[in-house]
Point group: C2
Chain length 251, copies 2
């Protein structure tokens, strides 16, 4: 049976996250329903990243095995005609039958957007966190630097997590302005539950002058969620792209 | 009685346009309700530009006279606490009692956004028109040039208009790429009903190879709506800013 990969993009506003829940509207649930309609199969989807309710994606991956005669590259077109407009298959393709989107050496890029002005612009309200206080980008950049590398990120992880190992490798944390937005771009090989949102909340806290950039060192060492800053709201977060060791899968 | 100007921004998705209609949800209707709640007055608002259902604004102006004791610059804060998040007052200020936002020599800037790729990105779906066919920017720029200046724009006006005079001055029409978007930026002193959307639909038609840039000359001369291209959808359009002869009122 061929294994097919779907590169999906979605507006997370109307979904209870990406991962299937029997009683809630989720991105995976919508994909399963569309695939059932198209192929008649109850496929088992393997998602690359779980995103929280309200988090967006330009590129999240799902794979499934299918006995359908639909050519792998045609799933995108066929599924888009059955899916709501806030979920799109940007591309579909056949992958090796052993390919697993979580068991490969991928690098993921997330962006967290902060609308940094007195009043929130209505057309940005679903895609950025509104912070009206002044943010010092240089302080945020200095703090971000301490997060790069391989660390125990227990302090930057929701306490509800069920993952025992909290050591992760963050390749880079960039902070830059784009018009009235402050963008935090985090690249890494794996992330814990709420990790990027806690990084964003902590950098914003330091950016507004509460604490010093070097405090990140103590936060990491504490291995205690209460040592870091608040969890920034879900709507500012977007999963941007996946890079594979050999090839890049993105828009 | 002081005259107060509100610089408003809104996401037009959920509104039947900016201008008040007794039986429909409009931006002006929401402003009137919030002003009634704040001041107790049934104020008469004068809007600078009527925008269609689904059209967005970063800066549209409304003025009103008020006997309220609220300081003019505090209306923004007070009204924002009463308005839904898809309408914001970016700034409020006192203006001369003779100031009328439509009877002054303003220049308005509109942007029309086209998402030009095979698949529409979900997070852009409310703010851009999806055109999957290839658009030739240079052809669109050449066509845009013929629209600049003072012309009779009858061919670029909805036939339902009640305005008898169809001569308008378009200061400039720019066409440029921004990532996967094609942006059409139109500056002018006044616009007819649907004029920018018909300009966008016509430029896209020429950009995909249906007709030549010089055809704009004949379209203008025809003074007949059927001579120009289709009306592009409302959601791609955004009123960006107002410039006054002396000062600039914008974000």
């Amino acid at each position: 049976m061929p294994r097919v990969m779907l590169i999906t993009a979605y507006d997370g506003t109307n979904y209870n996250g990406s991962a299937y829940q029997p009683e809630a509207t989720t991105v995976e649930g919508m994909l399963m329903r569309a695939l059932k309609g198209l192929t008649g199969e109850d496929v088992e989807l393997i998602g690359a990243s779980r995103t929280d309710a309200g988090v967006h994606a330009l590129s999240n991956l799902f794979v499934f095995d299918t006995g359908s005669t639909v050519p792998p590259d045609k799933f995108s077109y066929a599924l888009n005609s059955m899916l709501p407009e806030d979920i799109r298959i940007m591309k579909s393709m056949e992958v090796d039958s052993s390919f697993h989107p979580r068991h490969c050496n991928t690098v993921k890029t997330y962006q967290y957007r902060i609308w940094n002005a007195d009043v929130m612009l209505p057309v940005k309200r679903l895609y950025a966190w509104h912070c009206s206080f002044d943010l010092d980008i240089q302080r945020m950049q200095a703090a971000a630097h301490y997060l790069e590398g391989t660390h125990d990120f227990t302090s930057f992880c929701n306490t509800q997590t069920q993952t025992p190992d909290h050591v992760r490798t963050v390749c880079s944390v960039g902070v830059f302005r784009e018009g009235q937005e402050v963008v935090i771009e985090v690249k890494g090989k794996g992330f814990l539950y709420n990790m990027v949102r806690i990084i964003a909340g902590t950098l914003a806290m330091i950016g507004r002058g509460k604490g010093e950039p070097e405090d990140i060192i103590n936060m990491l060492e504490a291995k205690d969620r209460s040592a870091a800053g608040p969890t920034a709201p879900a709507n500012g977060l977007c999963l941007m792209k996946y890079e594979f060791p050999d090839k890049e899968v993105s828009l």
